[in-house]
Symmetry: C2
Subunit: 405 residues, 2 copies
């Protein structure tokens, strides 16, 4: 039996190589970028007007002129016009290129416009503080060829906008792995079936599939009964076809728990079996020489859940090439006692205080089979094995399975 | 000009009705549930064995017997067997139904098994503390007909598992609205085009589309140039076809900013124009008598971004029927001064301390056009208008556009 930290380290150390693929920009959000994105030109690409108003030569104003004849109108999207007279001005619209021979924009609020003999004049009411006022200068934010988005970024809508601006209609991202989710157990019937008294419907497969869907991965579902020859045959096929196998059930020491021996017989090297944690102790992990990684999770729903979020999800982000990792922390609202020398994943509800502190309130749960209790939880607080009493106010890492929007 | 709080309240008060639809369970994660989900039978549905071991009658042990002849094996997924002799036992596997005439499970670790004359006996080494030890009792977690998932729940993988267990192969959820995203502005060219010096590529549309995609909404993209007759004609079509119009650009007071007047002429009732905030002040909001709601966001990318996350996203969750709302808070790492009497949406990077406190570090930004700066930000801290100095350590609401996994 190994510790949670050791199990995590062994899992993260066993990566798989995934090809890079090119996808359309409108499908790229949430994917992991596998190319650096550079500025194709300056940001902004031209001296950009930031207020509706008039554009003047600052020098003319400084020389004492405060009324400027309006020569024309510079709209956004139109090529740059040219100011003809040093004591003239052009009306300019937000987003427009600054007209040639002008360098300062005075917003409409700070001018009064009058008309005399068919000519229009702008009289400046509030002195411009400086040259280039209300001008977003070319290259002020970024220079052409600057790195904008590094490889390994999980693409948010902000990166999608930047990629569009530099003309990337598609992006190189890590291709998601082919994942097979396999639930085992003779007691399981399909969601559409009515179970007999000693049977239950499959749920872990749907849960794992939903969790991966949130990560942009479409996994295939399988169910295998506890029959050793059949398991050998079917798992061999799946090893040949998939990059990742996530099993649930069949890893304890029961008479029908064939999974560890079947996997070993199929050439999957066992990297550990049993982790000093509750729930989820019988967790088995291995890697096949031909490539596939196998997570064999305990079949109790809460155990499956904890193992997925603690181990499988971060491993998936790692193999997808994400450069960042995240550790959330939360402090206990109440004292908790847990005596076994095991890491305890305590189901909790999260509250955020007005100061921005995450607080974790334990959710009462009937055991690792009581997944209905998860309806009132948001995640699991990871309580370390070298402690038995966990005080109110003490903070620990938290794994969340709900999103806060 | 109205306050941010007033703008938010007016937006949330203007809902649209969306039909309920039935979707397959494997597509339901992230959707908003529109039916209560009840337990179809007890949870667990039978006295469920939680450890591999032997099942005995507790009374027999209490009466002094500590060695039990093994009568057989109860596997998970098999109908309940029956203990024949009160001083016998059955081997039982995790997940199995508890055999008839037994009530207590002793795990293998606490028994020694011996064989004598072809018969097998289990000798109990550690006294069971109570009846029903290692038995997850029928109905212990939930009773048949108990409410498991209320309407209005945003479905996480945990709810998907529970729905599967009670036999829901499909779920009633709110149908996502038909959303049109319309960018306006003559300076905009397509992502695949090479812009002229005074032009830029469209980016807001892709950003908004990506943000909605994360919310499970597939929006259609449009671009309209600043031409009033054309805007009248095309927006009329979109009003007829969509539930929600999200525009970007054309809402300031420039010569080519036709959007507010065009919308009014098309019968969209203006509910506000201009909000006391930076960035995003020219934000326009209205509702058409025929149903559609129109968000006309300012075209500067950072303004569009802020307005989307502050207003449009929570409104979408509301019309989708989500019962919960979330307010995250974070405390400033450093003092910030902002003099205008406006709500200031400060771009920040988030750090989580070891005690679980969210800290917000301001990101230097060149203005509302500098969306490349968002690459280093995670969200916006909402600084209220009635304050000009914001101290290090002070906490404010935060809107995040990145997910922390």
């Amino acid at each position: 039996m190994i510790t949670v930290d050791e199990a995590f380290a062994r899992i993260i150390a066993n990566k798989i190589d995934l090809p890079v693929t090119e996808i359309a920009l409108d499908e790229a959000v949430g994917k992991v970028l596998q190319e650096p994105v550079y500025a194709d030109r300056d940001f902004p690409p031209y001296h950009r007007v930031t207020m509706d108003g008039i554009a003047i030569r600052y020098e003319t104003y400084k020389a004492g002129e405060d009324t400027f004849q309006i020569e024309g109108l510079q709209l956004a999207g139109a090529p740059a016009q040219k100011l003809t007279n040093a004591d003239g001005c052009l009306e300019v619209m937000t987003g427009a290129i600054l007209p040639q021979n002008t360098d300062t924009v005075i917003r409409y609020e700070d001018v009064s416009i009058t008309e005399r003999r068919g000519k229009r004049y702008a009289h400046i009411l509030a002195a411009p503080k400086m040259r280039l006022l209300n001008v977003h200068q070319q290259g002020f934010d970024r220079r052409a060829n600057d790195l904008l988005i590094p490889e390994g970024t999980v693409l948010s809508p902000a990166e999608i906008a930047v990629a569009a601006t530099v003309g990337k209609s598609s992006l190189k991202v890590t291709q998601v792995p082919r994942v097979a989710i396999i639930s085992t157990g003779d007691e399981l019937v399909d969601v559409t079936q009515t179970p007999l008294p000693h049977q239950i419907r499959k749920s872990n497969g749907y849960m794992l599939q939903a969790a991966m869907r949130e990560q942009g991965i479409t996994a295939d579902l399988f169910h295998l009964v506890d029959d050793k020859p059949l398991l050998l045959q079917e798992l061999q096929k799946l090893i040949n076809q998939y990059n990742v196998l996530v099993l649930s059930g069949g890893v304890s020491k029961g008479k029908a728990d064939f999974i560890p021996e079947v996997l070993r017989e199929l050439g999957v090297q066992q990297l550990f079996h049993e982790v000093a944690q509750r729930p989820g102790k019988p967790f088995w992990f291995g890697k096949h020489a031909a490539g596939p990684v196998v997570f064999a999770l305990p079949g109790n729903p809460v155990s499956t859940f904890v193992c997925y979020y603690k181990y499988v999800q971060p491993w998936l982000w790692t193999v997808l090439g994400a450069s960042a990792s995240w550790t959330m922390q939360a402090s206990l609202t109440t004292e908790v006692t847990f005596n076994p020398k095991l890491t305890y994943f305590l189901p909790v509800k999260v509250f955020v205080t007005s100061t921005g502190l995450w607080r974790a309130q334990p959710v009462s749960i009937g055991g690792s089979g009581d997944f209905a209790a998860l309806m009132t939880a948001d995640g699991f607080l990871e309580l370390p094995p070298d402690q038995t009493k966990f005080s109110a106010g003490e903070s620990f890492p938290i794994i969340c399975f709900r999103r806060f929007f």
